[in-house]
Amino acid sequence: MKKLGKKLYIGLIFLFLYLPILTLVIMSFNNSERTTGIWRGFTLRWFREVFNSQQIMEAAANTLLIALASAVIATAVGVVAAVGILALSRRQRILILQMTNIPMVNAEIVTAISLMLAFAMFGISLGLGTVLFSHICFCLPYVILNVLPKLRQTGSVAYEAARDLGAGSVKAFFSVVLPDIMPGVTTGFLMSFTMSVDDFVITFFTRGAGVNTLSTLIYSQQKIGIRSSLCALSTLIFMLVLIILLVRLFLSGRSANNKQIKGGIGG
């Protein structure tokens, strides 16, 4: 009885978590113009429609471009910032870290509106560039947060050893420090990427007229009524996020495995 209760409990949780997504996936294969909830047979029509729609493809391109560019730039800037933060004295470091953390806990709508106001105040016209800049801003703390612990673990000893063996400061960083903190860097990069793909609020307020990412496009279209092609599009986005998640899982699983093997030999 107790065992059954336990299973029921976890079953319910999974039902609440995944039933909506499952519905979405099923609806994207439903042969019906509108999402009515009535099954009218299997079709791939909506997926074809997604790939044939210039509007959707443009938004998808924007989304990927912004996600990739903001992740790359945020990662580069974040790693450099983490190196700098580690070199600070303890008190300064805590201060700076708290300051970089505030945007993370700040309400997204506040960040979005303040960014929009700032762009307006400095006379920067909204467009892809402002979206990109905003995304870099909110991704940066996550990169720092992921890189810093790794960097602290590596410490300055490896860097000093490389300098001692004749490497200049840049060479020492790229040949010795970076490979060691790579897991943190990859996690920071993937996190930035997914968060950028995911973002709606900040993009909505900082994009210019006519610029759409997938999330803002879906939002603007649902006002007219949810077409089944939007279900197909959402299913595709979900798949993309799922794949990134699996890659992350695979990477962290592999590094954990590696450690185990090495630990075994080292005894």
């Binding site: 001692d164 063996l165 490497a167 060691d180 030999i265």
Partner: protein
């Protein structure tokens, strides 16, 4: 022999705390020099200044007579063996050793032969393709040594390289370091807080405390003729006794006059006397110079360690012959085993000794 390195008036402070105060040190070519002292004495800071990792506040570092203060670590002809090995975990043993050679643009065949040579030198033949994390602490430190010496440094800096290893391994590596030093014919500067390590390996020992050099000399000289109470207590066990120099070659210890070999301390001057516990000879009551009673006894393997109350002072005595607690004995010290030291000149100096 010429000086390979000279430190001139080096001062350094961290967060307003003075670590080194106008330190002067000359290091001759091909010596094994050890900087010895308790933690916080400035020995590691001195080594880091030589290596170029820490910049001194004032003073000069001269290498073969030239000021190298402005040179970064990668431009100095020194290599360092770090306390925590500092091997690069994402490279295997061979790649670690090759790192410095690759940067200096050596040919592949040269690097190959150098790796083999270095592995042989540190008794790690056949480990070339192993992962660093698969090695024990002692093996990692051997690789760290190999990685440093393949670059043929003029000076090898060693920062407590054996500190993390267990006793047996430490002793083994001590002898290997001496052998390496003789085979390579280069200057070693070694930092340690372990006095036994310092005495075993060094040609010259520099005893440091609170940013000052307390004494510099051969291991025998440091052990047998400590110049002040700090050196005497830091290097081995010793009895340090408040005494009175009656005249040349005669000192009054615990109210009894002992003949000694020191001269030039004046007449009726207060001095400190250092007597090593193994130099105190115990005899039947009345047959030595000072009578007393055994108050403590501990077996220490090589010898027994005893405490003897005599003349109002608790004497530390080491002997292979057992004297039970409560037994009456008599102490005797040969004149050449009595080391006389001047009292610290100032309160400041005295404080330094007490702090330690």
């Amino acid at each position: 022999m010429a000086n390979i390195l000279e430190l001139v008036n080096i001062s350094k402070s961290f967060d307003n705390e003075l670590i080194l105060d106008e330190l002067n040190l000359e290091i001759r070519e091909n010596t094994f020099m050890t900087l010895l002292g308790p933690s916080g004495c400035g020995k590691t800071t001195t080594l880091r200044i030589i290596g170029g990792f820490t910049r001194q506040d004032s003073g000069q570092v001269l290498f073969q007579g030239k000021d190298i203060t402005e040179l970064p670590p990668n431009k100095r002809q020194f290599n360092t063996v770090f306390q925590k090995y500092a091997l690069f975990p994402h490279m295997n043993v061979g790649e670690n050793i090759a790192y410095g050679l690759k940067i200096s643009g050596k040919s592949k065949s040269y690097i190959d032969s150098k790796i083999e040579y270095a592995l042989k030198l540190v008794n790690m033949d056949g480990y070339r393709n192993r992962a660093v994390s698969a090695l024990s602490g002692g093996q990692q430190q051997r690789i760290a040594i190999a990685r440093a010496i393949v670059n043929e440094p003029k000076v090898l800096l060693l920062d407590e390289p054996l500190g993390a290893l267990d006793l047996k391994l430490r002793q083994e590596l001590q002898y290997e370091l001496i052998r390496l030093k003789n085979e390579l014919g280069i200057t070693f500067i070694y930092v340690t807080h372990d006095q036994e390590e310092a005495l075993t390996m060094s040609d010259t020992v520099v005893v440091m405390n609170q940013g000052y050099i307390q004494q510099m000399g051969s291991p025998e000289n440091i052990y047998n003729e400590p110049e002040n109470a700090f050196v005497a207590t830091f290097i081995g066990d010793s009895n340090i006794i408040d005494s009175l120099m009656l005249r040349d070659r005669l000192v009054q210890i615990c109210g009894t006059a002992f003949p000694c070999v020191d001269e030039g301390f004046g007449i009726n001057r207060p001095v400190d006397v250092v007597i090593r516990p193994e130099d105190v000879i115990l005899d039947e009551p009345g047959r030595g110079q000072l009578d007393g009673v055994v108050t403590h006894l501990v077996f220490q393997g090589v010898h027994y360690e005893m405490e003897v109350m005599a003349g109002g002072f608790e004497w530390l005595v080491q002997s292979t012959q057992i004297q039970p607690v409560g037994k009456e004995v008599s102490l005797r010290v040969d004149p050449e085993n009595i080391q006389i030291m001047s009292k610290p000149a100032s309160e400041d100096e005295e404080a330094m000794v007490i702090d330690a």
